[in-house]
């Protein structure tokens, strides 16, 4: 059976329970679900953050995330994988991104979920701008994110 892969890019918040439920097929073949939820932090590099603005490239965003999900499903026995990513203006404490993967076994669910997050960070066209008391500035990409994504290259 083909894995079920879904991508949503939206301004509105999301309900993690509803999302996780959507990963469970009715035949109870799912043994485990691994998820990651990213949140807006109130502090970033010594600065207080008043809000975060997320820009993206409509069209390419959805395509690139779907390509990441397909690559994860080619590497591990994924039953279902889903990404929800918010755009627009977000306040500290708000949910930014949710990645969920269901599989018969936990090792595949964990690996695929972490792989998707690492690739999302380096391949999906989103850009963060932080607004604070000291004005606003674009967030710089982190070398550590590129390194985390690179470590999957040698592996199958």
């Amino acid at each position: 059976m083909r894995p079920v892969l879904e991508v949503s890019v939206q301004e509105t918040d999301f309900d993690i329970r509803v999302l996780q439920q959507s990963l469970l097929c009715d035949e109870s073949r799912v043994g485990g679900v691994a998820t990651f939820t990213g949140y807006v932090r109130a502090h970033s590099e010594q600065r207080g953050v008043a809000s975060l603005y997320l820009e993206h490239y409509p069209g390419m965003t959805e395509r690139s995330i779907l390509a990441i999900l397909e690559e994860s499903a080619g590497r591990w026995p994924v039953l279902s994988a889903r990404v929800v990513h918010r755009v627009g203006e977000l306040a500290p404490g708000e949910q930014i991104v949710w990645v969920g993967v269901s599989s018969a076994h936990r090792d595949a669910a964990f690996a695929a979920c972490e792989f998707i997050m690492d690739y999302l960070k380096t391949r999906a066209p989103f850009w963060k701008k932080e607004r604070s008391g000291q004005g606003e500035h674009w967030v710089d990409a982190r070398d550590s994110d590129a390194e985390r994504a690179d470590r999957w290259q040698g592996q199958q």
Binding site: G38, L54, E55, H56, Y57, G59, M60, R63, S64, H85, I96, V97, M117, L120, K121, T122, R123, A124, P125, F126, W127, K128, K129, W138, V139, D140, A141, D145
Partner: protein, 84 residues
């Protein structure tokens, strides 16, 4: 015609979201397009679009190498991504 998009910090530095260019103005490939935009539009464009870390996408796929351009293509230039 070619559609050219800019995002994030680069979009702000250029003060430009998108352009429509004739294929003659654009050039034959990505390298020519980028060089033409840098040279034809003044110092601000040369500095911002000439930065070493600028990423290019052709028809909504990131491309690391140079690539030929065709009528109707969509090209995007942007800084390293910071989503997730």
């Amino acid at each position: 015609m070619l559609r050219v998009l800019f995002f994030g910090r680069l979009r702000e530095e250029l003060g430009c979201d998108q352009l429509e260019l004739s294929m003659a103005d654009a050039g034959a490939d990505l390298d020519s397009l980028q060089a033409n935009l840098c040279s034809a539009r003044g110092e601000r464009w040369r500095a911002a679009l000439g930065a070493a870390n600028i990423i290019r996408a052709l028809n909504q796929q990131m491309v690391a190498e140079n690539a030929a351009l065709n009528d109707g293509d969509e090209v995007a230039f942007f800084p390293p991504v910071t989503g997730g």
